[in-house]
Symmetry: D2
Subunit: 343 residues, 4 copies
């Protein structure tokens, strides 16, 4: 099966290359970018002698003619337009941007950009395989979830769906490595100012907020607006969400872990940690895992849920390939059996 | 004025040396440790030619004879015993450990150690100068606050005292650099396993929890148990607390900032940040500042409060010297005018 | 083919697990350690649900009965003894320690330990496949090269063998991440003291010095003692060697690059970088590559050679598997096609 | 004494603020930049409430009228022009750029920019106080040394002046934190690509090379071109140079240390480390020290010299203030008694 990547020179694109290079079924047909037509290794020397393909311009017609699947690792605001062209040509599309995830109104409010046409949006399946596998299987257009929503939603799904929590009590304290900001340069992500530092950003205004709420509401219509805060870790890869909810009734940690284990039993990329242990970011780095630990506190009646992902893998490129596998009728884990790189 | 340091070879002790070396009034009389009697620079080569003092054994009698003030940078479980000896000799004591901060019952529960005698505990003033200055001034024994309580309490005081928040809604998500764990070695704080990592630890069981609650209750007796989570940042110095509370009534961010500015107006080490800006850890590194920013969210009715400190300064040695200044009738900022080291 | 790992809980051992988990031919039969018989994921939670094998005690008899190949990821001083037992039982052994790399006298001088018996040492092939492939193929016992010698020797081989340099002029300035020190804890490798730091250690006394000299002398008997310095980088993985030699006659950078490209043309894991570009550590992280760049300076008549490896891969576990592939008649790259993890 | 800073928003400029804020004699009169006229804390929030001064445009006339000393923390190519204006007005000038350090021809070759007029260059004293104190004292114009030359020259001076080494054997392997590249953004210094990385740059072509050679030649006219390599450490502050020279005759490490101690005995900012110990970067961070350790190797006849500085302090702003003190007849250490910040 032939795949093409558009937006190859961003961190999401180059992570797709790392994954697809070892994929047994998908073959990289072409890589595209608005950059000069140079070999990708001139931009990313770690690929020297591994990929000799040159970056090509984005000619949708030609890409469609030669590809079965197109990955859009392009920024929000650009992906939507491209997606439309490929969908019309019956090419499978997986869009890693935020363009296809929200209703027009929410998109305008939070992204402060022009939304895509509703007719396109309506064709897009939300690509969270653990909860939407069947829809993904039958769709040609995937809105690959945001990194924070992936970690947050997988954390919250069991208790939200089971109606175990006060639906007005959800607080998500999220921490991300700087690669989440992409390859664009800023003082915030320069080593001089980011190392030995830790910053909060987008307090109560991160554009992933409505994406989280929208999905939670599908699971439980009582859910109220969530408090969502994002922080910048002085690391490259990885996200941790620490989520706080109030339990409606008292449940022990072990009861809740049992619930999570049951619900996620069949999910190859979800690992529910044993009681009294919690996952750390490096324990999933380079892999497609989402690891979850939790603790219910009888003093306060609150449940604390910890989840970690590699933002470039389960939070972007890894989940994109997982969706591509599903759309293509392959085993979901194909080409994704990366062992976390530790230490 | 002559000061002695006990427990000099820990990170708190060596930070006291950094501060006191430049202090115009306090002179370091002697430094003590259970280590070999070696020059301190053999243990800490950055002090080569700066301090030629040797580490001395801990002989309370002799220390008392030659010192006006004693800093106890010793671990919990040891400080209490030492404090008692000096207090009986009428020497001013500042204890950086947790031994004198809690009632016996709470201490046993959370520290899992034998508490000090109540008669000693009752003499100790809680050394949070911004809220307890008068008591500190008249005390000979200071329980220097924990690093997390310092950041948490300074964050919460204005809204808790003003009764603006739901007293059952307090959640503190805290992140600390690894120096908070002291000089003791562990895989958790080894660079191989801590760099490019981020971990949660002591979920709902950190021993600073009752210290925070005890002080909050003094300010507002309605306060309910708080949810308190601690995380390990891959940095050496610094703490951020992200605190979530539900506002009883709607208040704008600017109204609340105004309240904070009024309340902290006279406090030399508290900096309330302008609206729409938030402090980051590196902006206080090496200094005694506690910087605070906040945002009230009308969508959720919650207030998010960010505060940062250098855990070795305002969270330990810096606050200890601030207390020593107050006890000694000096200007509170004496010897503490460190500009944060940035970048 | 069944393989066993002894010394599984060190960083070399756990990296072998990462590689062998994806190896199409080698199957991990058992993992061994002097630690408690716990599942490996209790020691390394990143392996949770990936490896359910328990650590077993080191029973050489039993291991020999069930394994075709044994990897010794045990420390110097222990490996030698174990190797002997397996070799006598005709099991293929790859020893990652320094025990089998040096003549007894050099071993005693530099390692300050009892050397293995000469009869065992004489059976060991030096496992640098690029230069010793045929011997490795026909050997049952491999002395897997040290991390620094791997980077240094691959850097120097072309010019030393071609007799292009002053044989008394070799200076190797080496820099390593802290994982090279293994999992043992020290202040030097604690994040508090290693981050934002850079240290030199073992100036002119690193035990890898004679290993480097011994091999250079086999290539060119005129080689004089080398100056070799090791530094500690505040990173987990990776080594860079910056090597300085005086050219006998003037050669341009492009001539020398041509020589390197010719000599290494067939080597799957050596990448000679284009003129005016130099490799960096992260460009090989997680992979088995050794990347080399160089520059000849007409002002000084010296050649500067830069090489980088991942010390846990090409410097340890990766090279060990490369050797195991060769010994087993497999394609040398089998199970080693890791794309460097960047960023 | 009134001082003004031009180029305040770079890292050198902001470090001058950190130092001068605590300086007992120099008062900051005004701060200048080509940026908007905003308070400096809007650009550097760590200065909030510490400095309320606004950035002002660069009006040389006005600055000259109100200042006794001007610090030029402006980039090479700009400083020269500015220096000229102030020198003509008899204002003391300390230029942190490379504009006044080299003869026109060398400047053009290595900086690839238009040099300043020779009449200006000839008035500039090279501001390495340990070796040029008298000239500095009587000069109104200081060419503050580069960061790498400072560390390199202080390392080499004793053996070069004493003619103990082969003058054709000098190799300097230098490593710098990313703040050396200033505040300008690049992928090389972004945390995503610099953390867990280590890079070499400007191999045999760094513009500090002729600055080093020029001074060495003044000390010993036999010195031949040096090999000089610069690497990028994943840290913010600090430089280490590892320097290799061949000894003309055998000398023990202790003999050479004795020589260094004698020569630098009176220098307040040079610390020669005891035998068998070597300085690390963090041991001088935030201070104006240059720490030196060395080892003579009888096997190879070479001497290895390690020196470390904080590139923003002794390598830039600290040395600039040291020079200003000397020019102003103050004690050289005035306002520079910073204890290194460790850990």
């Amino acid at each position: 099966m032939k795949v093409s990547i558009i937006g190859t020179t961003g961190y999401g694109g180059v992570e797709l290359l790392r994954i697809l290079h070892q994929h047994p079924t998908f073959k990289i047909q072409s890589i595209h970018s608005t950059k000069d037509e140079i070999p990708i290794w001139e931009e990313y020397p770690h690929l020297y002698r591994l990929f000799d393909k040159k970056l090509e311009p984005i000619d949708a017609e030609q890409i469609a003619n030669q590809s079965d699947i197109v990955f859009l690792a392009t920024p929000s605001g650009i992906s939507g337009q491209l997606a439309s062209e490929f969908v019309n040509k019956n090419i499978k599309v997986i869009d890693l941007s935020g363009d296809l995830r929200l209703p027009a109104k929410d998109y305008e409010t939070w992204y402060k950009q022009e939304p895509v046409h509703e007719s396109l949006k309506s064709q897009a399946a939300y690509g969270l395989p653990e909860w939407n596998r069947e829809t993904i299987k039958n769709s040609n257009l995937i809105a690959n979830p945001g990194c924070f929503p992936t970690a947050s939603l997988l954390s919250l799904a069991p208790v939200v769906m089971s109606d175990l929590i006060d639906p007005a009590s959800i607080i998500i304290d999220a921490k991300s490595g700087v690669s989440g900001a992409g390859k664009s340069l800023s003082r915030n992500t320069s080593l001089s100012e980011a190392n030995e530092n830790f910053k909060v950003y987008k307090v109560n205004e991160h554009q992933h907020t409505p994406e989280i709420e929208q999905q939670l509401l599908q699971w439980n219509s009582d859910v109220q607006p969530v408090t969502f805060t994002t922080h910048l870790l002085p690391i490259t890869r990885g996200i941790m969400t620490t989520t706080y909810v109030r339990l409606k009734e008292e449940h022990s940690t072990s009861q809740l872990l049992e619930l999570y284990r049951e619900i996620y039993h069949q999910q190859p990329f979800i690992r529910i940690r044993p009681e009294n242990t919690f996952p750390s970011i490096k324990e999933v780095a380079g892999s497609n895992y989402c690891d979850i630990g939790l603790h219910a506190d009888s003093r306060t009646g609150r449940l604390t849920i910890i989840s970690v992902i590699d933002n470039l893998m389960k939070g972007a490129a890894g989940q994109a390939v997982q969706n591509a596998n599903i759309m293509s009728g392959l085993e979901e884990t194909t080409g994704l059996d990366f062992v976390p790189m530790f230490p």
